[in-house]
């Protein structure tokens, strides 16, 4: 599901202000010293802020990243080796005593967010009307503190304390990894909180705007919201969310063949075992192959088989989930390179048990005609990497309900009883933009990021109190300065 616009949005603002700010930022971009890397090497010894791995190995960002944060195969192999190059210079003992494996990333930005057909309350007239809300202004992203490296040969760690833009901290990732067990790259074990392996990474997403995220990774049918009209999700799961558990993974020497199998707590990465005693499984396999001068192509498949409770038993000390029902997300993905042009494609099929799909506790009777919801989703993301300093990004994504959890009664949405149409909740999303790295160095990363995103959900306004049932269309314009040091 996409993010809903915040309630603090103001009435529609004049376009003039947006245009003025846009113009100012475009001017700022033009004034940025944009000489190419080959003409402007950064003088050695003049730079002090250092991203952790670039500092450790003295490589430019472009060595491991197609365009950061997106990894290339060399960077993926480095990650899969437990953050090791394998040249006997990986252990901390080889670093200067002052070396500290920490990087910070944040993105100050200006954005314009527009939400269609929202219910707007006007205190002056004490009335609510349906219309479009638009707001814009300067803002901050969340902040990631990225610490990662080796504790000893073949033992590595990743710790990412991350703050939301309002400075609420959490542990985005925290894990320890034992690599090359039995001296084999096919045996590696990771324990802790981590991103699911071997798929198009949401943590390395190339789009940053309000509606520019991967919809497919967080979609749950609209009928899974509580039937009491509160519209809070009955259970939450996102394949893009970092999960807590243990992972067995392996790869060939050149990383062309990769696999992983993970056992995860059924709590969508939340700490404190809030749902208790449930475990999910994630399996994935991919194979890369060379296609001459076109580049390295990769195809893969994945399956997440999970369980979620349908009701909770709570005490003052502990909560536990009961009445667990199953769900799955499975599909294929591919990386297709045509020299500088590449495509990332993904197809996912999702299905939830009927109790999850209708938000019904397992001890309660199901609504009449209820079925487990099924949907198909996919996207194609295109990158044109003009050079390591400039990349154009485009993505089109769609989600189509294949089977609704509740019977279709045309034009009527009654939570827990019926849905208004067979395409209720379908999503179309489009995002395009560019990232420009004015300079390249092995010390810091800086990108000027400009992007537009739009997303439409069929019948989305049914989910708003008093909604008319029309489609919900939101969009966002984003201009940011993404830096990491």
């Amino acid at each position: 599901m996409f993010h809903w616009a915040s309630a603090s949005m103001k009435r529609r603002m004049p376009w003039l202000a947006s245009l003025l700010v846009c113009g100012f930022l475009v001017l700022a971009f033009l004034l940025v010293d944009s000489r190419s890397a080959s003409a402007l090497p950064i003088p050695a010894g003049k730079v002090y802020a250092i991203p952790a791995f670039a500092r450790k190995y003295g490589m430019p960002c472009s060595a491991c990243h197609e365009a950061w944060p997106k990894l290339n195969n060399f960077g993926q192999l480095f990650k899969d080796n437990g953050y090791q190059m394998g040249n006997d210079r990986d252990a901390p003992i080889f670093q200067q005593p002052a070396y500290w494996p920490v990087s910070f990333r944040m993105t100050p930005h200006w954005h314009r967010v527009s939400v269609d057909r929202a219910d707007i309350f006007n205190p002056a007239t004490d009335s609510t009307t349906e219309g479009r809300l638009t707001t814009h202004g300067f803002d901050l992203s969340g902040m990631d503190i990225l610490t990662a490296g080796t504790l000893a040969k073949n033992i590595s760690f990743l710790l990412v304390p991350a703050a939301e833009s309002d400075a609420v901290f959490g542990f985005e990732a925290a894990n320890v990894r034992f690599s090359n067990l039995l001296k084999s790259s096919w045996l590696n074990i990771k324990v802790g909180k981590f991103e699911l392996d071997n798929m198009i990474s949401e943590k390395r997403i190339m789009t940053l705007s309000d509606f520019g995220g991967y919809q497919v990774y967080h979609f749950q049918p609209a009928t899974e919201f509580s039937s009491d009209g509160s519209f809070t999700p009955f259970y939450t799961f996102g394949m893009g969310d970092n999960q807590i558990g243990a992972e067995l993974s392996g790869h060939s020497k050149n990383d062309y063949t990769r696999y992983s199998a993970a056992l995860l707590s059924s709590n969508d990465g939340s700490v404190g075992v809030p749902n208790g005693h449930g475990y999910d499984t994630y399996l994935t396999l991919s194979q890369a192959f060379e296609a001459g001068s076109l580049g390295l192509q990769r195809v893969g498949a994945f399956a997440y088989i999970g369980r979620a409770p349908t009701y909770l038993a709570t005490s003052s000390l502990l909560a536990d989930g009961f009445g667990q029902k199953s769900f799955y997300r499975a599909g294929f993905f591919g990386f297709w390179y045509l020299k500088k042009l590449d495509f990332m494609t993904m197809y996912t099929r999702g299905a939830d048990n009927v109790f999850l799909g209708t938000g019904t506790p397992s001890f309660s009777p199901l609504p009449a005609g209820a079925q487990g919801p099924i949907w198909n989703a996919g996207f194609i993301e295109t990158h044109l990497t003009v050079n390591p300093q400039f990349i154009l990004v485009n993505r089109y994504e769609l989600i189509r309900m294949s089977r609704q959890a509740l019977p279709v009664t045309p034009g009527v949405f009654e939570p827990g009883v019926s849905v208004p149409s067979s395409d209720f909740g379908d999503i179309d999303a489009l995002v395009f933009g560019y990232r420009y790295y004015p300079f390249m160095s092995s010390r810091v990363g800086f990108a000027i990021h400009n992007e537009f995103s739009t997303v439409r959900q069929r019948g989305g306004t049914w989910l708003l109190p008093g909604g008319s049932g029309k489609d919900l269309t939101n969009n966002s314009l984003f201009i940011g300065f993404d830096f990491i040091f």
Binding site: I42, A44, N87, A152, K153, N254, E290
Partner: protein, 287 residues
């Protein structure tokens, strides 16, 4: 008639224009097996992956150069350590290709095996554009590596004698720990201190991991380092004996040579004395 003549002129002009471009294309090409590398494509890869250490001009003066304790290779000088060709000669395209994929142990140069064969060949083609030596000189003829003779205790014992006789110990130390009496005085072609290979801790050599690679190392030498070529000093069969003995100095790396050597009293005592309580890399040596 007039149209035919115009066509002839156009073909002639096209051919004249194509000739120099063909020559340029061939100049920037390398051939590794069935793969043809192109310097144009290699240039893009170089400015993605390599410039941080090797520099924009390929002279080893990248922004990280000053921080590395083995300086990055200077492609302008075109002196390469790992070759199949005699000392002082240029390496073959395949030598450079293999070095790229393998990386260099105990240096900051990683293996680029995760790049495609085409990409590695392209990079080799571009690396060769930095030095005029590639235009004036031809790569040497690869040395012949005879078939490895059967392993025997006599072979190891003879290798041990050669290790002393050829004064390998002066740099590598009597136990192969890289701590010979000359070790602290050694410098490379960049006038930087360089440490001889420590057999006791390493499993991979600078230019490979197999007996075949080890044979080539001391028959071709590592140009740009104090490690000379022994091609004019020892016979091929003696070189194989030396290979077998050097393998026994790798006490943390299982090998047929070590197993055979440890079956003797002398060998067992030597290996036991070499095994200490761990290494800074965390690899650990079991007691």
């Amino acid at each position: 008639m007039r149209a035919n003549k115009s066509m002839q002129w156009m073909f002639l002009a096209a051919a004249l224009l194509a000739l120099p471009s063909l020559a340029i294309a061939q100049q920037g090409e390398v051939h590794v097996g069935k793969v043809t590398g192109h310097s144009g494509a290699g240039k893009q890869l170089y400015y993605r992956f390599c410039w941080g250490c090797h520099g924009f001009r390929g002279d080893g003066n990248g922004e990280n150069g000053p921080y590395l304790n083995i300086l990055p290779r200077n492609f302008v000088a075109a002196t390469f350590k790992c070759r199949s060709t005699p000392t002082g000669t240029l390496p073959t395209d395949e030598d450079l290709y293999n070095s790229l994929g393998r990386g260099f142990n105990n240096s900051n140069m990683p293996g680029w095996i995760s790049l495609t064969k085409q990409q590695r060949a392209d990079m080799v083609a571009f690396i060769k554009t930095f030095s005029p030596r590639w235009k004036s000189d031809k790569p040497g003829d690869p040395i012949a590596v005879p078939t490895e003779p059967a392993l025997s205790l006599q072979s190891i014992q003879h290798g041990k004698e050669l290790f002393t006789k050829l004064e390998c110990w002066k740099c590598h130390g009597p136990e192969g720990r890289g701590d010979g009496p000359s070790a602290s005085t050694l410098t490379d072609s960049n006038e930087q201190p360089i440490r001889p290979y420590n057999f006791a801790e390493g499993s991979r050599f600078k230019c490979g991991a197999t007996n075949h690679d080890l044979y080539k190392i001391f028959m071709t030498g590592l140009d740009g380092t104090p490690m000379p070529s022994f091609a004019d000093v020892i016979k091929p069969e003696d070189a194989w004996d030396l290979v077998h003995y050097l393998r026994t100095l790798q006490v943390t790396h299982k090998s047929p040579e070590l197993t055979l050597w440890m079956s003797t009293k002398e060998g067992a005592e030597f290996v036991k004395a070499q095994k200490v309580g761990g290494t800074p890399t965390g690899s650990g040596i079991k007691q």
